[in-house]
């Protein structure tokens, strides 16, 4: 058993309910590595919504709030304002964060509130049986798009960058060391940190998008599809840029802003 499991995982809840070869487990290990690196286990609280990826924090020996579908960010914002001393990790999926909770994502990013959002993007609604999600590539055949998806996929990284999130990164499950480093940076950073992780779903997305059920081959596809670079424009045609796109410490954080306002009001 992984050494980090001793300190971070509730062993009585094992084995995890993820399918064989699911990328969520890799994200789980990377988040544990990041917490170990910072040594901040007692300061961390996790919030999640509904979906496969929202089960990631439920195995941690930490304060965990498993909320409603799409509403992970409102819960997390409330928790941050009530307990500004906590570092809050939010685990959501692509459907949870970009579809049902899209509005909350927009406002949380615009507020620049100190949260670390980890969006596990597997390009499909995995838990409910393989329906099209907002990030599903154009033209892919899924259960709810039998003639090929007609919608343009939403790029959540671009969206939060436009709105002014102050730490933005994207990695894949094939880059676990970089992902853990990014998570540690995001937790340390004061402001809205958004990390998108391209993850493999060998069962649902494997069947309809990648035509491949071997999870390592899907990870290799991710390696081929992506290019590590410092900005979104550098990647070139047909490649998905990965890396840290923004790390800005200048903008004021929402919880501290609120504190100064309330202090002024009280006199």
């Amino acid at each position: 058993m992984n050494k980090l499991y001793e300190t971070y995982i509730k062993k009585e809840a094992l084995p995890t309910l993820f399918c064989s070869g699911c990328g969520n487990g890799i994200v789980q290990v990377a988040a544990m590595e990041a917490m170990e690196k910072l040594g901040c286990k007692d300061e961390v609280a996790c919030v999640s919504g509904i979906g496969c990826s929202s089960w990631i924090p439920c195995y941690y020996k930490l304060d965990v709030l498993h909320g409603m579908h799409g509403r992970a960010l409102p819960f997390a914002e409330g928790l941050k304002l009530a307990r500004p001393d906590k570092k809050i990790l939010v685990f959501t999926g692509d459907g949870d964060c970009a579809a049902i909770g899209g509005n909350h994502l927009i406002h949380a990013a615009a507020r620049n509130i100190d949260l670390t959002v980890i969006m596990v993007n597997n390009y499909i609604y995995g838990m409910t049986g393989g329906q099209k999600s907002p990030t599903t590539p154009k033209g892919s055949v899924t259960k709810t798009s039998p003639w090929g998806s007609m919608d343009e996929p939403i790029d959540a990284v671009k969206l939060v960058m436009v709105l002014g999130a102050t730490y933005v990164a994207r990695w894949t499950t094939a880059h676990p060391a970089q992902l853990a480093k990014s998570m540690a940076e995001g937790m340390k950073h004061e402001g809205f940190s958004f990390i998108e992780v391209l993850s493999q779903c060998p069962v649902q997305a494997g069947k309809s998008l990648w035509k491949e059920k071997d999870s390592y081959r899907i990870m290799e596809t991710y390696k081929r599809m992506t290019k590590s670079c410092g900005s979104l424009e550098e990647a070139g045609e047909g490649k998905i840029p990965i890396g840290v796109f923004r790390h800005d410490n200048q903008r004021e954080e929402y919880a501290s802003k609120l504190k100064t306002v309330t202090r002024k009001q009280k006199g």
């Binding site: 992984n2 064989s20 990377a30 990870m219």
Partner: protein, 70 residues
């Protein structure tokens, strides 16, 4: 180097077989608690303790104990 694979955690996805740069793991006839095929440590002497298997195992089944050279 001492590599152990937990029978209760492993789900037999086979990521470690391909992720290891030195092909330390190999297929075996052993079964895990799920009843799927479990990998086996075949070339432990080749291991360079890069930690790729530990990080990429989605179920945290692999542990690599790094030992000083004697």
């Amino acid at each position: 180097m001492e590599i152990t694979i937990d029978k209760a955690c492993c789900k037999g996805c086979g990521i470690c077989l391909k992720a290891c740069p030195k092909s330390v793991f190999g297929k075996s006839r052993k079964r895990n608690n799920y009843g799927t095929a479990m990998p086996e440590v075949k070339n432990a002497e080749k291991c360079m303790a890069c930690g790729a298997c530990e990080r990429l195992c989605p179920d945290g089944a692999i542990n690599v104990e790094r030992k000083a050279k004697e």
